[in-house]
Amino acid sequence: MKVSGNAEVLPSENRTFREWFRSKEIQQRVVIAAFIALPIFLLIMFTYVPFLQMFKFSFYDMKYIGPRKFIGIQNYLTVFTRDDCFKALALSGYYIIGAFIQLAIALYFASILCFKTTAGGVFKGVLFFPYLISGIAIGFLFKFFYTRGFVLDTVLSWIGFDENGLPYWLKDTSINNFSLVFTSFWKYMGQNMVLFLGAMMSVDATLYEAADIDGANSWHKFRFIMLPSIKQVIVLNLILSISGSLSAFEPPFVITNGQFGTGTYFVIMDRIAHQHSKVGLASAMAIVLMIIIFIVTIFQQVVMKKFFPDDEDGVSLTKRKKVKGKKVAS
């Protein structure tokens, strides 16, 4: 507005501005800016502003309504001194174990389905389908699944288990967390598999043919061709699964309400925020969890580097060295 106004006042400059504005370079930038403005606005509006607000809340003693009192890092100290917060975080161990099993099985299915198999499309669809169901619906589904004498018990009794000898899947504190982990396994396995599949499909088929000629068996092909090619996706899936495990919420919230020792960190946080109206403390809990996830992710990166030393970064490094050498030589 301002620019065009100026242009009207100064007609001599009008053309130059127009020319400048219409130049390819500027047009490109304008298009980029126009496309990026909306997502960035939404991102800032609905992610960063609320986040900063929450960060601010974490230093206050406050409820949803009523006066707020600044109390410095007291909330953070409370998070570390309360015994329920970190005890809840320990439950994530169950979900992390589940995540590893889930990734292994997803990898297994993906490596089978990436080659031509009978009704491969159907299997892909069936395995991916649970991911499309809302987490709340899955919760209700599994509540019935685990109910005494319902689906699971019936199926197990068909294959010879004594129905009365079976445990209470959600009541028995020694196994109920595994029952819950299974529900998230059921949901996310298909998604992991599809991500793996996508990466595997992009592996050049001639590599397999070459390996065949060299006399490699399936395991060799998997270990030396497929695995290195999809390393990036494996790392991504690992990071997603582990941060997901640390912030597990839906299964314990919907199925057991966090009772009978299934209250994960998020469930406790929800209870503190919504039922006890301690918004400041819950915000501090959220920030602490975020920091923990950061640390775990960085740690994971370091470990992955150790496991796959001959990764792409290594390749690009040697390439760069070569280029440098050339330059020096010339």
Binding site: Y146, T147, R148, K171, Q259, Q275, H276
Partner: protein, 452 residues
């Protein structure tokens, strides 16, 4: 240009004429100065104002009753007052929608007062039914919407807190007298377990909110003291401790703990099903459930055995007498902006509704008229004194909720503390005494920080 001026002139005229309409309308409807021409305590139904001509619009929260029960009521009412026309509008999202509509002043003539209206605001929206001192001689539960000696809200019906049970199951187990103490109740549950196939006490644990129902009994029902919730509980020390008399909060929670510990509840609490539980109690597969009286109608409607469902006071006796916490449902309120005739007509209808319609009787609720006959389901409440919590004294309105959230005990808000009792009773540890000791500690710390 000329055309534009003409248009402008027309617009201006229209605006003025609208404004004129608005002001004349207001005059016609009384502009807030009109009052009903009689009071709730003095008017005689069927004798006074029988020739009154009026149009009353009634906004109600009971969308389920608008087209059937209320229609019948209105035609009954019209036999006495043929010239009063009453139309009903039901709103699903009542509390919120009505609060918004109230502010417009033009919502109708009669409504159920949303609980969001503070007492001090009552006079701005509603007309008085009459002096409280007179009305309370014959009616109860007027406390919530009375202000400066005037009554602005008449409850449509009262709710009592008790235990919903299946009479037939109790009879099959040989329990003929309604249990009056925790021991009698647990003994009855035991008899049900031994002699029938029914689940003696269904906790509805998995639904979670149903566990919060237990908190409703720790006040009036278990102490007989109307001041308990805002007095003793807020200011006393260690209110959850066992008082040794089998009364008070400890006794309430102990019923649950003992019932679970003695296997008198369902097998697996984590997979209970609320919708199904209604059918089960109707069929006699469940002996009893601890829920407010609102649940009775739902349990009756869930199957063919409506007559088996009954309601009893919570089995605690204080010094030989039984009490039950009670409170009003939504209250009627008359729009002060309506014309005097419409307001009078609305008041007549409320009076008729309360005295003649049998609404409380039909719906299984507590009648608000003193000495009224109780409906069949509440027969067990005959002779039981209803305790209506006294409101918190001025300046302490938030004290209870502040202590409650600060301590994280969460009475009436967090159902988790009741669930813990079930978990502990199943695991056998900790004991109820250990649980309440923890609550007392947290509660005392919160009392200190909130200055109670």
């Amino acid at each position: 240009m000329k055309k534009r001026l003409l248009a402008l002139g027309l617009c201006a005229m229209m605006v003025f004429s609208f404004a004129a309409c608005g002001s004349s309308d207001k005059k016609g409807s009384g502009g807030g100065d009109a009052k009903p021409e009689t009071t709730f305590d003095t008017v005689k139904i069927g004798e006074d104002f029988t020739d009154l001509k009026a149009d009353v619009k009634w906004v109600s929260h009971r969308t389920d009753l608008v087209d059937n029960v209320y229609k019948d009521y209105i035609s009954e009412f019209n036999k006495l007052y043929p010239n009063i026309k009453i139309s009903v509008e039901g709103i699903t999202d009542y509390a919120e929608s009505m609060t918004t509509r109230l502010t417009t002043g033009d919502w109708g003539d009669l409504c159920m007062i949303p609980t969001t209206v503070p007492k001090t605001e009552l006079t701005n929206y509603f007309s008085s039914f009459g002096p409280k001192a007179e009305i309370e001689k014959n009616y109860i539960m007027l406390e919530n919407f009375s202000y400066k000696g005037e009554v602005y809200g008449i409850p449509s019906v009262g709710n009592a807190q008790g235990v919903v049970y299946n009479k037939k199951v109790f009879e099959q187990a040989g329990v003929t007298d309604v249990p009056k103490t925790p021991e009698e109740y647990l003994a009855a549950l035991k008899a049900i377990k031994d002699k029938t196939d029914a689940i003696p006490l269904y906790t509805n644990f998995a639904a979670n909110w149903t566990m919060g129902a237990w908190d409703a009994y720790i006040g009036g029902s278990s102490t007989g003291d109307a001041d308990f919730m805002n007095g003793e509980l807020v200011h006393g020390s260690n209110p959850f401790t066992d008082n040794g008399k089998n009364t008070g909060p400890y006794a309430v929670y102990n019923v649950l703990y003992q019932a679970v510990a003695q296997d008198l509840t369902e097998d697996d609490p984590t997979t209970t099903d609320w919708e199904n539980s209604k059918i089960m109690i109707n069929n006699g597969e469940i002996g009893s459930m601890v829920l407010g009286s609102w649940s009775v109608v739902q349990m009756q409607d869930a199957g063919p055995n409506a007559d088996d469902i009954a309601y009893m006071p919570f089995p605690i006796t204080v010094d030989g007498k039984q009490y039950a916490s009670a409170g009003p449902d939504y209250d009627f309120g008359i729009n002060k902006n309506s014309s005097a005739d419409d307001q009078t007509a609305a008041l007549l209808f409320v009076k008729w509704f309360t005295d003649e319609s049998n609404f409380a009787f039909d719906q299984g609720g507590v009648p608000i008229t003193i000495d009224a006959e109780y409906p069949e389901v509440l027969k067990a409440f005959d002779g039981v004194e209803l305790v209506i919590d006294t409101p918190a004294p001025e300046g302490e309105e938030d004290l209870f909720s502040n202590i409650n959230t600060e301590s994280e005990v969460g009475l009436n808000s967090d159902n988790y503390h009741v669930s813990i009792i079930v978990e502990a009773a199943i695991a056998g540890t900790p004991t109820l005494d250990e649980i309440v000791t923890e609550w007392n500690e947290k509660w005392s710390l919160a009392q200190e920080s909130q200055g109670a």
